[in-house]
């Protein structure tokens, strides 16, 4: 898949290849040492951060981490309809 910055595609491919190998062969086998792709990630980041700037993507907006927050859980109560489990087996 392409990077947002055309110039970053090569660096992205190198990093992604390294990461995917590390993820399958190390992380999923219990290793938590993630140093293998650090240098490639740094080089790729330098390129991608510039590209985000060029595309005027608001970096501030990206910095918030929502996955840990309670914001999502709270919004559940907003307008959640009652759901009835329904058998819609299409297989």
């Amino acid at each position: 898949m392409n990077s947002i910055g055309e110039d970053c595609n090569e660096l992205k491919t190198k990093y992604d290849t390294c990461f995917n190998h590390w993820f399958s062969e190390k992380f999923l086998r219990g290793s938590t040492d993630d140093s293998a792709c650090k240098e490639l990630f740094k080089m790729y980041q330098k390129c991608v951060q510039d590209a985000l700037h060029v595309h005027q993507i608001d970096i501030k907006d990206l910095k918030h981490n929502h996955i840990d927050g309670t914001e999502f859980e709270n919004s559940k109560t907003e307008d959640k309809p009652k759901v009835e489990a329904q058998s819609n087996d299409t297989s």
Binding site: Y44, V48, L62, I67, Q86, N88, T90
Partner: protein
């Protein structure tokens, strides 16, 4: 009020396979609307979970009536994910950035290993709009588009899993179950809502002139 949508999908691949496929799922024949994908943050946390943040850009196709609100040619999506290797779960949180007042879509998916060597994905989504007078049709449009994109997303993901792990039977690899009848009912009348809102708005403008 935001609209809520949820569904469940069972992938006939084990948890490790689904996780490996997750990072490789673009491009695929069903993802022509996805233009780019970049990782901007990645770390292993003290509790051993892998946190990643990725930025995706997607095309922003809207119907004619919506062009006055959505002038952007593409939208930017932030996808956060957390892999918990002990609990065997992958949780994703996805949101659009920019244009949130016009339409915000927030999605959470939890991929979980089941007891039969398969993986279940439970998806919840909230769609909202703050545009005065048009929030209802925009939310309805957002829900419809979201639902279509969910189907494409599942088909695309499954396509990639089929390539990565070809020994599985592709015909039985996807089983989808919609659990939100309420959403379906709302979606059926979306067109009517839009027509009514547009009629009211144009009628109002005419009477003002």
């Amino acid at each position: 009020m935001a609209k809520y949508y949820e569904n469940s999908t069972v992938f006939n691949y084990n948890y490790e396979q689904v996780l490996q496929g997750f990072w490789k799922r673009y491009p695929n024949p069903y993802s022509t609307h996805v233009l780019s994908e970049d990782t901007i943050q990645r770390e292993i946390r003290d509790d051993g979970k892998l946190y990643s943040k990725r930025i995706l850009t997607k095309t922003n196709r809207v119907p004619k009536w919506g062009e006055r609100f959505f002038k952007a040619k593409f939208v930017c999506i932030v996808e956060e994910s957390l892999v918990d290797p002990k609990a065997k779960t992958l949780t994703t949180h996805t949101r659009n950035i920019g244009f949130n007042r016009i339409m915000s879509v927030t999605e959470r998916v939890v991929y979980q290993a089941d007891h039969h060597g398969k993986t279940i994905a439970n998806r919840s989504a909230w769609i909202d709009s703050q545009v005065f007078g048009f929030a209802t049709p925009i939310r309805a449009f957002g829900c419809e588009r979201f639902k279509k994109n969910c189907q494409k997303s599942n088909l695309g993901f499954n396509y990639i899993l089929g390539i990565l792990f070809p020994l599985q039977n592709p015909n039985s690899s996807l089983h989808q179950q919609d659990v939100t009848q309420k959403f379906k009912d709302v979606a059926k009348t979306a067109g009517e809502h839009m027509k009514e809102q547009i009629y009211q708005a144009s009628h109002y403008n005419v009477s003002q002139n």
